[in-house]
């Protein structure tokens, strides 16, 4: 009964209507209600089936070398150290170290590289040419590299030629690239984990067919769409918006001057806090469940005659999205109870921004342990990449269990804080104000 009252209290409030509107707008902007425009198509022999990334040393080494050389010549490196784009400019000493790396990879003289490529001394930057790789390599139209051409690039005799040395060991190459990444402060494409991005090869028909079959059998089609919905819903709305609801509801008693009336009632802190938490999670999940079905139902008619998983949206709503709602709500309740301020919005907002930006490089497959919103932004055109998802499923389970676990731990702490405040043992923001003024006084005294 209390649960019903708490849910009623939330859903009848203006912030909740704003919350629902924000979810609809956020998801609409990601076209989740137009999944039907993009049907899953069985690959047919003779067409293009897309690309995949593979660790092919012969492809990765020249491509990475080319990028490093270009950035070195401009002394303008692009990195994503904490997810945010950063342009790095190196000192002369650091450039010399990059030149040393380039020298070891290409066999060219380090001093000459510095002078003629980086333009540190007169000589200009046009005095070199770049050879993509061995005899059989060329750049393809998609920005990747493919093997299969017999053409060689012409080198002018007076210019330096940059090509990966024939005897370059791939392990050593990765080590050198790792050193370059360290010099750049991390987060570059040369990081050992990121080098695979230079290895792009086209899918074969057999591979594409295998992907398609997996999407039909394992995902039963609707699972792929539900996963894509969860990817957008998790990152765009449910990792951040529930914190607003939690903060507003947690501050409601205080703002309504109702704290003392509630504190002296019989209901325990544990029951009240947990039921309020449950009410918030239910209220936040309700529109998501409805919208996930609205999005999913729209594609059902395109697959008549196929075995579809009609419960797929529900499975992803609870398994994928609910832990994000749980953690976001728990942070809101915990920090609001602790400080009696809306600081949780800032904290959660910061984590969310960091998560979104850190995830830029892993948007197609981001399942690391501390991800607020896991990523698997792969639609039907890429045949949902179900195998990738299945490969990372244990990581996803760990991540989601961890988030749900942290959320429940925070709620336990919230209960303890609530009970302490209820008995006048802890004053919330009064405690923090006192602590801050104490620090200020000490600072003033030391300055005096």
């Amino acid at each position: 009964m209390l649960l019903l009252q708490e849910i009623k209290k939330i859903v009848k409030s203006i912030p909740y209507l704003i919350f629902v509107a924000a979810i609809i707008i956020g998801l609409f902007s990601q076209s989740v209600f137009r999944f039907g425009d993009d049907p899953l198509q069985e690959p047919q022999p003779g067409s293009s089936y897309g690309f995949k990334q593979e660790e092919i040393a012969e492809q990765i080494m020249p491509a990475a070398l080319r990028d490093l050389l270009t950035e070195f010549s401009n002394n303008n490196y692009t990195t994503y150290p904490i997810g945010f784009l950063k342009h790095v400019k190196l000192s002369e000493g650091e450039q010399a170290k990059i030149a040393e790396i380039l020298s070891e990879i290409t066999g060219n003289n380090k001093e000459r590289i510095l002078q003629e490529v980086a333009g540190i001394s007169p000589g200009g930057s046009d005095n070199y040419t770049f050879q993509i790789g061995g005899d059989a390599m060329q750049q393809d139209g998609n920005g990747g590299f493919t093997i299969g051409s017999d053409e060689n690039q012409q080198n002018s005799s007076e210019k330096m030629t940059f090509a990966v040395r024939d005897d370059m060991d791939y392990a050593r190459f990765k080590e050198l690239m790792g050193q370059a990444d360290d010099l750049l402060g991390g987060g570059s494409n040369y990081a050992v984990d990121s080098l695979i991005g230079y290895g792009t090869v086209p899918l074969t028909y057999e591979e594409a067919k295998e992907r398609y079959d997996l999407a039909v059998t394992s995902d039963q089609v609707t699972g792929g769409y539900a996963r894509l919905f969860s990817d957008y819903a998790g990152v765009m709305v449910l990792s951040i918006l529930p914190v607003f609801l939690a903060v507003i509801l947690s501050m409601k008693d205080r703002r309504a001057k109702m704290e003392a009336l509630i504190y002296t009632k019989e209901t325990s802190a544990a029951k009240l806090t947990f039921i309020r938490y449950l009410a918030l999670v239910i209220a936040a999940m309700a529109p998501v469940i409805i919208l996930s079905y609205v999005s999913n139902i729209m594609v059902w008619s395109s697959y008549s005659g196929m075995q579809l998983d009609y419960l797929a949206p529900l499975k992803y709503d609870f398994g994928w999205l609910m832990p994000s709602v749980m953690i976001s709500t728990a942070i809101g309740m915990f920090l609001t109870e602790l400080t009696s301020t809306p600081i949780a919005v800032v904290v959660q907002g910061f984590w969310w921004m960091l998560d979104v930006n850190l995830g830029i490089k892993t948007v197609h497959s981001g399942y690391s342990l501390f991800r607020l919103a896991p990523r698997h932004n792969v639609g039907p055109k890429s045949l949902f990449r179900t195998q990738d998802y299945l490969d990372h499923f244990p990581d996803l389970v760990q991540n989601r269990l961890l988030m749900a676990g942290i959320a429940l731990a925070l709620i336990l702490l919230t209960i303890l804080i609530y009970e302490a405040k209820r008995k006048g043992k802890f004053g919330g923001n009064a405690f923090f104000k006192k602590a801050v003024s104490g620090i200020r006084n000490r600072k003033n005294q030391s300055q005096a």
Partner: protein, 300 residues
């Protein structure tokens, strides 16, 4: 279960500042008035009884239950704080329903209890009115109704009549008197009229110390022979104000009729029957509270 509140050697600190000093009180069924100036420690004592504050030391037993057992205490008390409100968007019925659930009332008894209480506080016809649309008096009555939801043995009411108009104040006092027929009702106030109209037993608290604990009759008796009236000219008044503890003044043309406290009869003065205001003033006066007269204001 014993139907009284026993407070022994109660001390309460806010940080290093002591708010209550060795408070000893025995409160029995009926209306008990806690009288004192603003900031005297009344609210601290009330909040401690309502389990909202922790005591430093001493003992409090509420109807046989030690105050440390907050869970049990909450079952037997009803509390109306000095400043309170309810979710403004809820109507009276919804607010009562919500608080009844928090009070642990089962569905079967909730409806009946809420109806009875709204009738008791004369709010039945305002059941569908939003809390934000209630007048100050109605809100206080709703406050009393919610405090009675669990049919408590003890009702703690902190400054309930402050800011109410005279009619609403009288109505409120009568309501409390009615409730006190079968409960302990502790009424904290700085308005002497509230005590006079409702309480038999009172305590006067000043600067955290109980300076009087007994019946209203005993308080009045102690003031007998020490309250006088006199008619003086307006010209004499400033000097008399410095010399005497004047409790009231009435101007009649160029003359002023004063009522004052003194140890002995002055020339031209007449002894009169003390009222509770005089007795309260006398206690504060004898406790060294000189500035009280300037604080009486319009509420006396």
């Amino acid at each position: 279960m014993n139907n009284s509140i026993e407070i022994k050697g109660l001390n309460k600190f806010y940080g290093k500042k002591q708010a209550l000093y060795d408070v000893n009180l025995s409160i029995h069924q009926g209306m008990f008035g806690l009288l004192g100036r603003n900031g005297a420690g009344k609210t601290t004592l009330m909040k401690t009884l309502a389990t909202l504050l922790q005591k430093k030391d001493g003992e409090i037993i509420v109807c046989g239950v030690p105050i440390e057992n907050a869970k049990e205490i909450r079952k037997i008390i009803g509390y109306l704080p000095q400043e309170f409100s309810m979710y403004p968007s809820m109507n009276v019925g919804e607010a009562m329903e919500y608080l009844a659930i928090l009070s642990g009332l089962h569905r079967s008894e909730r409806k009946e209890r809420i109806n009875a209480l709204l009738k008791k506080v004369n709010l039945t016809e305002h059941r569908d009115k939003k809390v934000k649309a209630l007048s100050g008096g109605m809100k206080r009555r709703l406050g009393i109704a919610q405090a009675l939801l669990n049919n408590p043995k003890v009702l703690i009411v902190d400054e309930p009549t402050a800011g109410l108009d005279p009619e609403e104040r009288v109505r409120f006092r009568n309501l409390l008197s009615e409730i006190a027929e079968d409960k302990i009702v502790i009424l904290s106030t700085h308005i002497v009229g509230d005590i006079e109209a409702t309480c038999e037993d009172i305590a006067i608290i000043n600067e955290g110390k109980v300076i009087y604990n007994g019946t209203v009759d005993d308080l009045l008796q102690a003031a007998e022979g020490r309250v006088f009236t006199m008619t003086v000219s307006k010209r004499e008044l400033p000097q008399l104000k410095r010399q005497l503890s004047i409790t009231s003044m009435h101007t009649q043309g160029s003359k002023v009729h004063i009522r004052f406290i003194a140890d002995t009869l002055m020339q031209g003065a007449k002894e009169c029957e003390p009222n509770i205001e005089d007795a309260y003033m006398l206690y504060l006066h004898s406790s060294g509270v000189r500035e009280i007269l300037g604080e009486i204001g319009g509420e006396w």
